[in-house]
Each structure stands twice: as C-alpha cells, then as structure tokens.
Amino acid sequence: MEEFLRYSKAEKIEEFLASEPEILEILRLVYWYYKCSTLSATFNCKKTEMRNKITKGLLDLLTPYYSNIPYDKAHDHDFNSWIREKLRETTPLRGKDIRYQKSVLEILRVLKSINSELMIAYLSNNDTIKISFATAATNEYESDYDFIINEGIGAQVKTLFPQDSNEEFFSQSF
C-alpha cells in the first residue's frame, strides 16, 4: 500500500501499472484471508503454511540481504515488521535485478494459488456444508488437505497455469 500511495502521489502511472497485478493479488489475499478467518478457529492452522509459501519466493530474492529471523514462528506483528523491513532493503536494487523480477512472478503465482484455495474454501461454506482447516502434512504418509468439508471429507485445490509460457498468464486481464 505504501508503494501504491507513493506512485499515485507522484502520478507515475506507468510504474503503478507495472505493480498493479501484484497489488491486486495482495488485496485479494487480504480479502479472502479475512473471510476465511471468520469461518472457523481452525484457520489458524493455515497461517504457517501460507507464510511459508509466500516467503519462499521472497527468501530467494533476499538471500544476499537475508538475516536469519524465524519468520514462521513469529507473531503477526513480528512477521509484518520482518516483511516490511526486507522489502525496504531491496527497493534500491530491484529495478535492475532480474532475480527480483523472477521472484515477483513466482510470488504472484504463489499468491494466485493461495487465493484459489481460500476463495473456494470460503464460497463452499453454507448452512449444510461446513468448512474447517487442518495443519499441513509433515511427511508423505500423512493426509494433506487444503480444507476439510463437514469435518471428514478432505479436499485439495490445484491451480493450473499455462504450460507453454508466462506470457499468457500475465497478459490476461483478470
């Protein structure tokens, strides 16, 4: 949001447009995250899993600057501070950094996958179908569900992306 405000004030519309897909996807994440958090207390189980997915791309990007902070165990406030600090550190370099651009694409892909899960979980919930969440599997023998229907039916959500090129994926206006 800080970037959004900065670009708007300076009327750098092209720069803003370049960031628009990421900003929209993050806003979607915020929306569906909040919605799912109202579904069930079991949503807390998903937090660590989602953080790990999102920070995976960020960590690749931040390797040269990365200091070892236990982001997966931190409280909400610590985690937010950590993300903010790391993003600020990378700002001066990122315009020319190919690795940054690749990381943004990966983050966007991860965000879309997470949003798919959260959206379908929330929209599936109604008077007769109750949705809850479970912790991610820690080994290959454990069941691994994105969410659980009526306390017993495990569901998995897969988001499919174009195989041949990223061009299709990012040039569509969703």
């Binding site: 379908i120 179908i129 994105d146 229907i149 569901a155 988001t159 499919l160 195989q163 299709e168």
Partner: protein, 135 residues
C-alpha cells in the same frame, strides 16, 4: 495472448464453442499436460474431493465460454453437493472444476466431473486407461 484466443477459436462452430470439440480438447489437455500428476498428487494426499482452478488456462476460458453461451450455469454449491453425494461411488473421485473472473462483477463458473480411479497394490491411483477411453 494471440495463441490463447487462437486455441479457443479453433473450438468454435458458427462463432460458438462446440461441445464435441471442447470435450475432445479437454480430454487431450488432461492427458497431455501435467494434470495427471496433479490428480495423482491429490490422491496421494488422501483428498476425497479435488478442486481445479482453470481460470488461467485457455481450456478454462473455452470452458467458461461454453457454459455461458449454452446457458448451462451451475452454482458451486450444487456442484459440491452433487460431488458429496457421489463419494460413496466406488471407482471414481469427484473433481470440481471452477473459474473465477472479474469483469464488472465477480463471476464464478463451476462444473464437476468424475475421475476414474483404481486400486493398485492397496493404493488408489488414477485409471488412465479409462480416461483415455480404452475401458
């Protein structure tokens, strides 16, 4: 982007997406891409219902056009309810396909299929032969 629409336009007859062509394209898409791996992965994870988000694929776009053009919209709730009813049926795994799109308003289209599975050495796995129409 051009190839995206080009692929979909090849499925049209008189400007509308044809069901027969779409069905054939869908079958090819399922077997030619890594979808089989994704289905198997979902089975390995012990999922009883699978959801596939096709919003970013050309086949999903074609699928959405067909649903809208033919007026065969079904709510997600109905797809899910029907899928749950099918859970007791042996040899199939419910697969809910969905697409979300934001134009002036947010649209969500969905449909559900039954994916053939078989038990092999006490493990459930995708029945490829059935999917390819050999059985």
């Amino acid at each position: 982007m051009r190839s995206f629409f080009h692929k979909v336009s090849k499925l049209e007859i008189n400007g509308y997406v044809d069901f027969g062509k779409l069905e054939e394209e869908f079958r090819k898409y399922f077997l030619d891409t890594n979808l089989v791996d994704k289905i198997n992965k979902g089975i390995e994870q012990n999922a009883k219902i699978l959801f596939f988000n096709l919003s970013y694929t050309y086949v999903g776009f074609a699928f959405e056009r067909y649903i809208v053009e033919s007026g065969k919209r079904t709510s997600l709730q109905k797809c899910l309810y029907d899928s749950i009813q099918e859970l007791s049926e042996v040899g199939f795994l419910p697969l809910v396909l969905y697409l979300s799109r934001v134009n002036i308003k947010h649209n969500l289209e969905s449909i559900y299929l039954k994916v053939p599975v078989k038990i092999e050495q006490d493990r459930i796995e995708l029945d490829r032969a059935s999917m390819q129409g050999y059985k």
